[in-house]
Subunit: 298 residues, 2 copies
């Protein structure tokens, strides 16, 4: 399908794409750019057929399709290099988790003929790096593809096909809708997890040890989410700023109501909790999680 | 070890104890009181050797050891029945998650000769009921035993032995310390999970569907924790009120600082997230969770 593919950034997501592309022979030739020396060594040990690029430079001129799998703060540099070196009408996608501000920012500097259709595969883990890459990472997971006003149908088809070849289900939406949804389903949950770990551990050290020792009652699950890559998440929070600020305010407002319920032994707290419990069944019905009870991972 | 054991409340925890006690023949005779008709039917189908009590009444006089596995709001009624019917010097424990206020409240009405040593096994799940009971639920999990001023050594030994027979590791602490620790490791995390689900779903229905559909990016994990039993959790929040109110305030203060970090593109946010990530390794080292990456449960 693809003649010459370049994967820029080969951490968890990039290396998972690499493995699947190699396995399914989706590209005739694969270039990889990965700036971490440690990750480069890991990638070499994978014994996959690709060429490691040492710099993002004129080699780009050979590529037909680029997928950017770096934190959002790397995009500017990458697009400037593409402006300088890439073929006319090259197709670029990315896997970033925050879209609207990123697209506005990049569209201002991007060469007009470069076709950039942004993607967001809803797949990941608390672990990073190519050692954890998994060719099955995208199977049956949603990949959201961002529609812009000028998105060409032909190019959109290619992007949708690419994600389907990786095993994803695809859906298109605009950047604004994407950022509103993912502020609530992913960005706020991650910030809350970080904030819970901060709150639980901001005590004097004697208690801190006890808090970690007895963390199986709920805290450990948040610690997993709060173990995600810090550069990636800093960039997401900054690049979905306006939605983040809004949902934090709503979250605090709701939490203050819960506080009042507790303070006043509010009678209907039981019903409120019961209604929230029901959301779980809907998530399981939508196949976003399994109904299998979790007694803690061992 | 025990002559006549009574388990009051046979949901997830009570039925897990029942199964293990039967398997390991920890008691010569077992009585069970469970008020839900549905749970009673499930219990009968287990084909275990126990006698189902229809009421908490004079049968109590036969028992040597009682373990209360009901929500905290049932305790008053149960202790009043024990006052009326139980043997002198009977030994009672419970599995409630909030201690200080509960103990103060019950000590006021409890017959003085009744030996009550409160316990808290750190084991559970988002599922309830005897259908989910699991004889291995307590294996290698902590059980916290509450020391009071008047706790007798002999009785304490019996309680520690009981939990060890169920497979638990045991630790003793006072009620105040217990409630402070578990406010942070368990009670606040559960409230936060409920509040996150409330926040994510308090939007108009068109978006609500999308939010559940794309919940795999973090929200689904919170929905699992927010699927816990509503009566149990209402009671815990009410019975650890003063700690809950305090930790909610600290949580909000910390979240407002995160909001400010995001608003101002704060440079050190990366370091702050990186430091929080490290907590995960400590939790794994303490064997409170596994280091195995989670790519979503399937």
């Amino acid at each position: 399908m693809i003649d010459k593919l370049l994967i820029i950034g080969c951490g968890l997501i990039g290396s998972s794409i690499l493995k699947k592309v190699c396995k399914k022979k989706i590209a005739k030739k694969i270039f990889v750019f990965e700036k971490s020396k440690k990750n480069q060594r890991t990638l070499k040990r994978l014994k996959l057929k690709f060429e490691l690029m040492q710099r993002i430079d004129k080699k780009i001129a050979e590529c037909d399709f680029i997928i950017i799998c770096t934190p959002l703060s790397e995009y500017r540099k990458i697009f400037l290099a593409c402006n300088k070196y890439s073929k006319k009408n090259i197709l670029i996608t990315d896997v970033g988790s925050a879209k609207k501000d990123t697209i506005t920012r990049i569209n201002k500097i991007k060469r007009k003929d470069i076709n950039w259709i942004s993607s967001h595969p809803i797949a990941g883990s608390e672990v990073s790096g190519p050692l954890n890459g998994n060719e099955n990472l995208f199977i049956n997971k949603w990949s959201v593809i961002i529609k812009q006003k000028k998105t060409q149908k032909k190019e959109m088809k290619k992007i949708l096909k690419f994600w389907k070849l990786l095993g994803s289900k695809t859906v298109t939406m605009d950047a604004d809708q994407h950022d509103k949804i993912f502020a609530l389903t992913s960005h706020l949950p991650h910030l809350i997890a970080y904030n819970l770990i901060l709150t639980a551990t901001s005590f004097k050290s004697s208690n801190k040890n006890n808090i970690l020792k007895f963390s199986a009652g709920g805290l450990r699950d948040f610690s997993r989410i709060a173990a995600s890559n810090e550069i990636m998440w800093r960039d997401i929070f900054f690049n979905n700023k306006s939605n983040m600020l809004k949902v934090i305010d709503i979250f605090i407002k709701n939490l203050k109501m819960f506080k009042q319920d507790i303070k006043s032994n509010k009678k209907n707290l039981k019903t409120k909790l019961k209604n929230l419990k029901k959301i779980r069944q809907k998530i399981v019905l939508l196949k976003q999680d399994t109904s299998k009870p979790d007694f803690g991972r061992t």
